[in-house]
Symmetry: C2
Subunit: 312 residues, 2 copies
């Protein structure tokens, strides 16, 4: 089952995909369920209720008619992983603890849904705006001190994340803070896929394409800290809650080829400490896609953010 | 004017303090205003509307009759500062950029309101659970690319933060992530004080007392990156929104005295890389108070969190 959070005529709704272009809106099929995916997956019997509600119904809306929101629009916390693939350690020359994952937070305003434009910072602010294709895990049942062998029971489903990063700000100081939380710099979607449909995440590839050219391609099986490890670790300190998101980290980029020469020059601009020699940055006019095998494609156009004082 | 977020008979409300023990509930005085402080301060004329609503009214509830929530219960983002006082740099032996602030995020479940217990981790999880008394700034008017000389126009008011930190987890890896976001480890309150009433933050002292003994005492004027700098910097990447919180960083602790000898032994337990030689950690049964001159006192009892699998 694949569930989307969408906006239609200004109203938020949750839908269940039927094929790849259309869906059943739960507002029509199950008016007793909340119109919010975080609240739905907090219900202990949510999967059975949703399946019953959509059984035998024809899709009533098309993806083309709505805007997709981030899969969870109002998560309690978005936990993100730094340096969780060896290939990303290799390309950055950085190190990480072998014992403990490296974790930071994103907030909900730093992300958009599938199809929505993501914002490239003005050149005066940052030039190294990078894609990071990642597997996102959405918590269903919450808990504290979750043992590794129970961790997967707490997963509502999986999604795709483009953990867009502004390298200059990420490396201004030791904590990533703002560089990982630029306005609408990341993307989360297109849908939540339940574990029964997705299968074993460690047998799938994550791939990132910029303007159609593959830039990342790696098995999710190469995660250093696996989903079970992350759920266990986080729950030692934090009560995981329905709708909490764990963005599991990004693999290294593929090596640039001869055709990337010009882009590479740009990529080699010193970014204040962290250099990603193989990276071709995102710029306005690009289209970035992150695909996870069997899960789907998260596609976003890149548009220019503007500088200048804008009180709100 | 001092505004509180509270819970009375299970319902959330906003109040305006009248003296130090009682308040006017806005639910009664201004039923047309939202029952949520973040939404109130998003209204362009909120101060005038609130003042009109409470003028001449007698307080209708006492602090003793309600539970205080964090001042903003549902902020879009809580930005927190690492190493923003020289005295904290000195005690940790760490360094920071002179050009750019060091920023991380907290999430709303890591904090409680004034008077509510904060949770000390079980010893099996962490032993170095530390107070960090700080000035909190709450954004009123949002914006992007806010110049330093307009920054203070975007402040709704000030509050007090105990940025409770679990040092072992903070230093498990380079990003603070979980160590700064333990369940109910921090505190935010007791109220939002408007800038006209608080005056110049840089002329005030921040003081932390553990069981009545002063542990931190420093002028907020010693902030390395000032409130204006932080608002400007954050707005380069993020659209500041009403209710965003900026927790400005903590000063170093005072040197322990002879009476602290036993506590100090505990304090010297190696905490995985970050040692705070002068720190007396918080433990169950303690009471921690952070006071900011002219703003108030944020007081919380410390209770023990429990280990063990608790699915939710």
């Amino acid at each position: 089952m694949r569930l989307i959070s969408y906006r239609h005529q200004g109203r938020a709704g949750v839908g269940v995909m039927a094929g790849d272009d259309a869906f059943v809106s739960l507002g029509a099929a199950a008016p007793d369920l909340p119109a919010n995916l975080r609240l739905i997956i907090a219900l202990p019997d949510w999967q059975a209720r949703v399946r019953r509600a959509v059984e035998g119904r024809k899709p009533d809306l098309r993806l083309a008619d709505v805007k997709l929101d981030p899969v969870i629009i109002d998560p309690n916390a978005i936990w993100a992983l730094a340096l969780n693939y060896q290939s990303h350690l290799d390309e950055t020359g950085l190190t990480t603890s072998k014992e403990y994952p490296q974790i930071f937070l994103r907030h909900a305003q730093s992300q958009v849904g599938a199809g929505e434009p993501i914002l490239c910072p003005p050149p005066s602010v940052g030039r190294a705006y990078d894609y990071e294709g990642e597997l996102a895990v959405v918590i269903g049942r919450g808990g504290r001190f979750i043992p590794r062998d129970k961790a997967m029971d707490h997963v509502a489903g999986y999604s795709i994340y483009n953990e867009g990063s502004v390298r200059e700000f990420q490396s201004h100081n030791r904590q990533f803070g703002l560089g990982k939380n630029f306005e609408r710099s990341g993307s989360f979607g297109p849908w939540l896929m339940t574990p029964d449909e997705f299968g074993n995440p460690y047998e799938k590839l994550v791939m990132t394409r910029l303007n159609g050219k593959t830039r990342q391609r790696e098995s999710i099986g190469h995660l250093i800290f696996k989903v079970e490890d992350l759920i266990h670790y986080l729950s030692l300190g934090h009560k995981l809650r329905p709708g909490d998101v764990i963005v599991t980290g990004t693999p290294g980029a593929l090596k640039p080829d001869a055709g990337d020469r010009e882009a590479q020059i740009e990529a080699h601009v010193k970014t204040g400490g962290v250099q990603y020699a193989g990276r071709v940055h995102m710029k306005p006019g690009d289209v970035c896609e992150v695909e996870i095998e069997g899960l789907g494609i998260l596609r976003n156009p890149v548009i220019a953010d503007e500088a200048g004082y804008r009180p709100d």
